[in-house]
Structure formats: structure tokens, C-alpha cells
Symmetry: C2
Subunit: 438 residues, 2 copies
């Protein structure tokens, strides 16, 4: 296979190089972008992206509803709005959060341009360069990008199949404090974590809240997938257990559609105030038309049934992936069994390197995200994240078949030549990975 040459731009002299802010020097374009351009070709089964499948939305009915919205309320919907988000939107968001046991007031909600912007605003409000942010190891690549953009130091806390390890969390807090570090918050995805698919058990949630109280630790609970549970009822959100120590991040991207870019944060009152002022400086106000459109959807459509439709569709895909993996993975490969969300986390047989292997996988017309993307510290080379959200069940099965073949070949090479050969071509996915959506 012929891969595109690394872009010449990377080596072009940048006349502004001395003018950038300190934070900008950490931003570099990853060579893996060129690879992902290839991965997006239709002949490649991409198990790499985190794009939801929104084909099941009632498009024609939505079109009519938005038509009426513009005719009847267009002058408000297309005008500037509140920096905090429209009051009716915040009321609806409170209703959505109630599905996971959260009791909140609309006054404490701040609407954002996707929940990525909620993460950005929270980090901006709390973090100075050098501050420590704790996160599960591994954690969401887009969050790591935001923390890096604010020059935070990410310290990973070990997790297992029950979620973040409380012993490791306590140890990290004690040792960081002893080292004079300022820990600003713990960033966690309790439900169907990205990238592992792991769900924190109720017991772990309780213990996490206990630790937060003991150590005065602010917890950022990122919950984009919480309602996309595939096997059981949702567990209570951390925010439902503690309103003082938890800042909650939510999103319509997975339970409705991502293109409107509407997310939110629910924060203790004093923090909420800072977030609103920061939002005003960042955008004046979050997308107004989008808020009207989503509020219309929530008002006029049976959005709870739509979530059930999504669950049924994603359950089929998750099952296809688990079947495919069971059928096609070589011995020594293990993976998580997610009870919701979009992702399975695969651990390769010893000696294999998911990063070195990626070009060969794409040659074999299957793509995944390498494990190293989800660590700030270079770990994860034996892991890959597989997404079951976007391709059809048939394509997912075919993808795992192709991946199985690639792994067999890698193992064969490994057995023949020993360690090391697979690093001949090394792509750097740890700096500036593409956003988690393609």
C-alpha cells in the first residue's frame, strides 16, 4: 500500500513561531492524520471513530418541526441569546438529567457548544499551567487534548473492570500532595467509559464520593453515554450522590444528534457563575438556533422512545462485535464486555504493538484507534479501542475478521523474527491525535 507522504507543511518554516503563547507549542499535527484520511475510504471497515449512528432519527417529522419553528419563532431562534443558555433549554436539560437520578435546578446549568466545550470551560476556570488533573488510565483522547491545551499535568489512576481503583486513587492523592502538587480535579467517565467500555459499579461510585469528600477533591463526571445502557437500568450518576463535589457534563450528541453541538455542564452555584462569564468571553452565547431545535425535539417528539430505538440498534452492534471477536481473535487476545456506550477495549497478545501494526491493518482494510492515544504517558501500545457505533453489524463482523487475520500475521512475524520488527514504521499518535469523531 502506498501511504501519502507526511505533509510538507509540517516542515515548512513558521514565521510566527516566536509569537505563539507557551500553550501553543504543545500543539502539533500528528502524522496519523494522513492515515486516518485513508481509513475513511469506504472499502476500509473503520472501527476507529466515535461517530453515533443517527440514521434512525425521524428525519421528515423533524424537518417539519424545524420548519414550524422558523416560521413561528424564527426571529428569536436566529437572534443572540443568553450566555448561560436559553432558560427553556436548561429546563429541558434538567428533565433529561432526572432520568439518571439527578435533582438539579435550571439555574445551575450552563449550555455549551458540545460537551467538549463544557470540558474546555471547566478546565479554563480551574487549571493553571502545571496543575495536576487526575484521569482514569486510559481516558478519553479529547479530554487529554483539552488538558494538554491548558498545560495541565495528567496523572492516570489505574482502573479495572469495575471502574477506577479507589486504592490507587487514594495513593495518588496522598503522594501528589506529599510532592507539593496541586490536584485540581478528577476527570472520570463512570458509564461505558471511553475508551474501555467499563462501567463503575455502585459500590465504587460510593467509595469515589467518599474519597472526594475526605480529600476535598472536585470530580468532573463526563456522561455522554449514560442513557445508552444496553443490558440493565442506568446506575445513579455521581452527581445524584453529591451536589457539592461533582461538576457534571452532559451532551445531546449521543441521545439525539451531535451536529447541533449542544452539551451542558451542571455545576455548584459559585462555579456556575464563573462558567457563564467564561462562556461569554469565549462565544458570547452557545448556539441559539440549535437550542431551539433541540428543545422543539424534546417537546414534540417521544425522545425517550428514540433512546430505546438507539439502545436496540447499538445492542445489535455490540453483540456483533463481541461475536466477531470471539470468532476471529487469536489466542492471547482479551477484551472488555461493555454494558452500554460505543466501545470495546482490546488487549493484544504479548509482543504485539497496536501502533506499529496500524498501517498494515489499514492495508488489510480495517481501522482502529491505538491504545496510546488514550494515555498521556505513552502507555497503551498493547491496546486498541474498537468502536461498534457506526458500521453495520455485518461490517463489524467483517472488520473483526480482517483484524483477526492481521493479528495472526503479526503473531507469525513475531514468532519468526522475534520482537522489534514491527516497529519499522512508527506513527506517533500521542501528540495531537485527530479528534475522536471520524
Amino acid at each position: 500500500m502506498s501511504l501519502p507522504e507526511p505533509s510538507r507543511r509540517d516542515t515548512r518554516l513558521d514565521p510566527y513561531i516566536d509569537a505563539y503563547a507557551e500553550r501553543t507549542h504543545g500543539l502539533t499535527v500528528s502524522a496519523v492524520r494522513a492515515l486516518f484520511a485513508v481509513a475513511n475510504r469506504p472499502e476500509v471497515v473503520s472501527l476507529a471513530g466515535g461517530m453515533p449512528n443517527i440514521a434512525d432519527l425521524p428525519r421528515e417529522a423533524l424537518a417539519k418541526a424545524v420548519d414550524r419553528l422558523i416560521t413561528e419563532n424564527g426571529t428569536q431562534a436566529m437572534q443572540y441569546g443568553s450566555g448561560q443558555g436559553e432558560p427553556f433549554m436548561r429546563e429541558k436539560i434538567v428533565e433529561v438529567m432526572a432520568e439518571e437520578g439527578i435533582q438539579a435546578h435550571a439555574d445551575d446549568v450552563v449550555v455549551t457548544c458540545g460537551s467538549q466545550q463544557a470540558l474546555d470551560l471547566v478546565t479554563r476556570v480551574f487549571c493553571d499551567p502545571g496543575d495536576v488533573v487526575l484521569a482514569e488510565g486510559p481516558s478519553y483522547v479529547g479530554a487529554l487534548g483539552t488538558f494538554r491545551a491548558y498545560q495541565c499535568e495528567v496523572v492516570h489512576v489505574a482502573m479495572d473492570e469495575h471502574g477506577i481503583d479507589p486504592v490507587a486513587l487514594r495513593a495518588a492523592l496522598v503522594s501528589l500532595k506529599a510532592g507539593g502538587k496541586r490536584v485540581k480535579f478528577l476527570y472520570t467517565i463512570p458509564n461505558f467509559q471511553n475508551p474501555t467500555g467499563v462501567t463503575q459499579t455502585l459500590e465504587r461510585r460510593r467509595e469515589l464520593i467518599d474519597i472526594a469528600r475526605e480529600h476535598d477533591l472536585l470530580v468532573i463526571e463526563d456522561n455522554p453515554y449514560g442513557l445508552l445502557t444496553l443490558d440493565a437500568e442506568p446506575l445513579p450518576a455521581l452527581r445524584s450522590m453529591d451536589a457539592d463535589n461533582v461538576v457534571y457534563l452532559g451532551s445531546f450528541s449521543k441521545i439525539f444528534a451531535p451536529g447541533f453541538r449542544v452539551g451542558w455542564t451542571l455545576a455548584p452555584h459559585a462555579v456556575r457563575e464563573k462558567l457563564v462569564l467564561t462562556q461569554e468571553a469565549a462565544t458570547l452565547c452557545p448556539p441559539v438556533f440549535s437550542q431551539f431545535a433541540i428543545a422543539t425535539y424534546l417537546e414534540e417528539f417521544d425522545w425517550r422512545s428514540q433512546i430505546v430505538t438507539y439502545r436496540d440498534m447499538y445492542r445489535q452492534r455490540r453483540d456483533a462485535m463481541l461475536d466477531g471477536l470471539a470468532q476471529h481473535m487469536p489466542e492471547g487476545t482479551t477484551w472488555t464486555v461493555p454494558q452500554g456506550g460505543f466501545f470495546v477495549w482490546v488487549t493484544l497478545p504479548e509482543g504485539l504493538d497496536s501502533q506499529a501494526m496500524l498501517p498494515r491493518a489499514i492495508s488489510a482494510r480495517v481501522a482502529y484507534t491505538t491504545g496510546t492515544a488514550f494515555y498521556a504517558d505513552g502507555l497503551g501500545s498493547r491496546n486498541m479501542r474498537l468502536s461498534f457505533c457506526y458500521p453495520t453489524p455485518e461490517r463489524i463482523i467483517e472488520g473483526t475478521r480482517r483484524l483477526g487475520e492481521v493479528l495472526e500475521q503479526e503473531l507469525e512475524m513475531h514468532r519468526t523474527f522475534g520482537l522489534g520488527t514491527q516497529t519499522a514504521r512508527h506513527y506517533d499518535l500521542t501528540t495531537g491525535p485527530a479528534p475522536d469523531i471520524t
Copy 2:
């Protein structure tokens, strides 16, 4: 008149106070917000806000076009998109900029969540705490807010009725350099400047570009009102004279509608790359549905005629305001005569203080924005910004009549009691003013 008490939140103990980032401590809620809540009552003629009047948009035809968009392309329009902005949107933006003589490539455009976010991203890419940003004195309140949010030091450069003063600009550059300061860029609004309404002459533009080249000065050209010229053809944009030293900011908020939150920046190639990475960390991607909706509008509607419609409507309002001022302002009051945009800048007779006077003006059912909001250094107390964009011509005339009466009373008080009495009730508009849109 009974004004609401300052919010109790301001004095409430904030348990997170020690956890915030350095940059967050500069963010405080202004007491003037309470005043603006009153100013938004229908009985008050508000000459304070910068909200465009979008009543003339062809709402029903737009509703049908968006209906078709969702039916035919909804799955793309509601999905995640490119961090840089959709390619077809960037192509259209290049067409819009060509109206002001700018030759550009879509590859160098980055779409943002309103042009406020463009300003935020540019500041984030370039500015460390303590870096100097040059800006006209006075300048746009929302830009000053963003610069403050990144802990920049704003140094104002004097302007007159022809725009920024090149002698003052050169002097500032020399003296700041001598003082060891790092000047990151000049922020300027060449057309119908906010808040003064002043337009840079062609001669001044050329001189500004000369200075930029001599001093290696990056120029941020903010041009939301450029096509809303009321008396003559638009002058060439700074970016049309120099592609290397100018970062251009544009917006659909005033030539179409603000609620979609779509703005953009056109930047030299290397800078564009940093902006895209920063945009991904901030939002993953700018509002996708909004981009589809605006591209549909630009494709299917005669947007150039709509701008002519807007011009005719704003010209009437501008003329009403100039007539009203000529009729009702007491002797000693002067004002600018804008050739486009939304704003007139008023200088009060000596001894009057627009900030101290504001509660009494609102009592008399007229609102304006005090001049101090537009300076980072406390100047502007003898000035006010009057907006002619939103109220009808009749209301504008009535507003100037009420304002004239307030000024007469102030002058009377001033003559009777001398200086000082007008500061009995002092509202702080210099910290965290409300966004410039209500």
C-alpha cells in the same frame, strides 16, 4: 425608581475560591447586570445593545429551505463535522470575503462559534499572561473581555475620526519595546468601529499596513459590519492589502443572523494550523447544522440583496438617530457620524459622567452603554455608545428626546451643585460587563 438590590451571590462565600485558576480571579459579575435587566423592559428605549434587527429575513422561505435540508441531508447536517469547518462552508466564506476585495483560499479559513470564538482562539494561540495587546481606544467590550480572560495587558492607541492614529501607534510600539514588553498583536475594527462608528480611511489603512511590516506587527482585523455600509462602497479590507501580517475575523451575525453562531477567521497558513488544533480541543467542531443552514441560505437565496435590504433599514435608523441627536442634545454635546454599522459615539458636555447618570437615564426610560465599558483603563466616563440597530426610527427619536431631557437635568444639577453630586450612586461597568448583545 426602585432598583433591584445587588445580588446576594456576590457576597456569598465561594468554597472553590482557592481552587480556581489565576485567570478566573479577574472574572467578576458587574452590578450593571441588574440595571440591564431593567433596561430590557419594553417601556425603556434601549440604545444600549448591539442586537441586529433580523425581522426582514424571508422567514417562511427559509423555513422551507431548512425543511428540505433536513429531509435530504439531515444525516450529514446533524452529524459531527470537521474541526476546521465544512469545506463547502469555507468555500462560501471565501465568496463573502471577496465582496471586500479579499482573495483567499478556503483552506486558510477556520469556522468558529461566532466571531467571538475566533477572537478567543486567536488570543489563546498567541497570548501568554502579561503579553500586550494593542487596541483602539475605545474598543469592543467583548474583545476587552476576551483579552482579560487570557490575562493580557491591553494598551489603547488613540484614534480620531479617520481611525487609529499612526503616530500614536508607532510611538506605542517603540515605547513598549523599549520597556521590554511583548506586543502580540494589534486588534482593530477598521469599518464602523464598535463603539465609535468610525471608519479607517484608505490612507490610514495603507499606513497601518506599512507599520505592521516595519515592526513585524500582527494585525487582527475584526470586520463584522464591513458590508453594512450606508453611504458608499466598502473600503478594501486590511487583509486585502496584506495576507502575511493580517488575521481576519468575519461573521454572519450582522449580514444574516446571529443565532446560528457562525463566524470565521482567515489566517496565514501556519497560524491556521494552530487554530484548527485549538478549535478541536475547544469544541471538536464548530456548529455543523448551522453551517449547513447558512450554506443553504447563501446558495439558494439572494443574500446580496438581503444585505441591501439591511442597509436601507439601518440607514433609516442611523438617520433617525442623527436627526434626534441634532434636535435634542444640549449644547456642548458632540457625536460621531457613522457611515455604516450600528453605533454612534457621544461625548458629553464637560462635567457630566455617563456612568453616574445611567440609573437616572433608565428611570427616564432610556438606556445606553457607558463609555468606560470600552476602555481597559477607566477612561470614557464622558462618553456613551448609542446603538441604532434594534429600535424602530420612531423609538430612536423618542430615545434621544428622553436622553436630551436627562442631560439637561444633569447639566442643571451640575450648574446648581457643581461637580461631584452625580457620583452619588456609582455602578461599576469596567469589570465583567454584560456581553454586548442585549
